[in-house]
Amino acid sequence: MNAIQTTNLTKRYKNLVAVDNVNLSIRQGELFSLLGVNGAGKTTTIKMLSCLSKPTGGDAFVGGHSILREPLLVKGQIGVSPQETAVAPHLTVQENLELMCGIHGFTKEKRLAKIQELSAQLNLGDVLSRKAGKLSGGWQRRLSIAMALITEPDILFLDEPTLGLDVIARSELWDVIRALKGRITIILTTHYMEEAEALSDRVGIMKSGRLLTVGTPEELMKSTGAQRFEDAFIAIIKEEKS
């Protein structure tokens, strides 16, 4: 069974088709990147898959459950780290994690164990008592991912996780994402070519709401005859334009 399967997934606003008949299969344990320029429809696709936004057409099955008919079951299987940092700024890192544990109804023992586990996994130990709003962008993103992982999701959505980070913070976050690879299915949106190439098992390229192509970075370079992944991306986008 695929982790995610979409059939003609569509989102229309008044005069705009944000996502246009997207058919996509993402395998279990895969790190799949949705790549595209701004306004390509990446975030809208993720919002629909995580039941934050209802499609206006088509359907998607996340962990075998329909986003239209079984949103609560879908929500039970996913973790979401939105594009913005999505943390409570006046709460400490530990309190932010406790907030998510409490909302998911964890017992005290489970809460403590989970916070300890995630602190070790994402190296948050040194900043547990610091207020989230005072952390650097990189640490806030790290906390954001930890908050998304609290429920041990089968599927993790990372929306532009390294947006606005410096080179070092980005590299550190890549290490975090690599460490998760294979254990859970990860759907990552980005418009950084090197990020998609470095992390992804497969990449889907979107433009104007449509999914233009899907393949491994190597397959996409081969199909376009490009030496670099960035050139392959540009060729695919421009080919569609002409």
């Binding site: 979401v80 999505a86 006046h90 709460l91 909302i103």
Partner: protein, 243 residues
């Protein structure tokens, strides 16, 4: 349990923001001290402590709109709400989670106002407790107004609308700074149609112990509180569904 976790988080966010303490407590206390000092030199019946303290207590409550609106708007902007929408929290958990923790904060704020007033000469009696309790419907009105504004406006807009415009409007139309009967006319009619003056008169009636005169004011405040709560819930759920 889930809702209580969210309530606790909202209370912590508000109490840990130093600007909230400055505006919510500092500003009303400074006004109370300043106007009492003026009253000591140039006696004006309007600024006698038994008349002034209830007005300042209600003026302090108007900052609840700013606090709740800023919290909701910030949660929307930072996408924390978006994250929480993917959790088992239900619509009622959000609405109650934002509103309920602010009630004890509002009661504590009123208590501090009356404590300062006692130090300035307000007689100590049980009527002050009833005034604090009767301030809760007005507090809920201001909190609901904040939830409503936070569901529609961004953090910057909320600062201007709830922080500057509403607090001033609420104060002018409440009869705290001047006697509305002296102005009369359309201004007086508008002020009487709105809940602010009734919230102040309710407090004054409670402090003076004339509860018979308090009920009409309480009914007006309760009516506005229900309307604001319904409007806030509708607008919050609308923006939630828009996500």
């Amino acid at each position: 349990m889930r809702m209580l976790t969210f309530c606790k988080r909202c209370a912590m966010e508000i109490l840990r923001d130093p600007l909230n303490l400055l505006f919510g407590l500092g500003f009303p206390i400074v006004l109370l001290l300043l106007l009492s000092a003026i009253q000591a030199n140039i006696p004006v019946p309007l600024f006698e402590i038994a008349h002034l303290a209830p007005g300042i207590a209600v003026f302090g409550l108007s900052f609840m709109t700013l606090f709740s609106a800023t919290l909701v708007a910030r949660d929307r902007e930072s996408a924390l709400l978006q994250r929480l929408y993917t959790t088992p929290l239900r619509s009622a958990d959000y609405i109650l989670g934002y509103m309920l923790p602010m009630l004890p904060i509002a009661a504590a704020q009123s208590a501090v106002c009356y404590l300062i007033a006692i130090l300035l000469g307000l007689p100590v009696n049980v009527r002050i407790l009833s005034a604090i309790l009767l301030g809760l419907p007005a507090a809920l009105f201001y909190i609901a107004l904040g939830l409503l504004c936070g569901s529609v406006f961004n953090v910057k807009q909320v600062g201007g609308i709830c922080g500057a415009l509403l607090t001033n409007l609420s104060a002018w139309l409440s009869g705290v700074w001047f006697d509305l009967e002296l102005v009369g006319g359309a201004f007086g009619r508008i002020a009487n149609a709105l809940p602010f003056v009734h919230a102040v008169e309710l407090q004054r009636a409670a402090v003076s112990g004339s509860m018979a005169g308090a009920w009409p004011h309480l009914l007006v405040v309760l009516g506005y509180t229900l309307a604001a709560s319904a409007g806030a819930s509708w607008l919050f759920l609308r923006q939630m569904n828009k996500q």
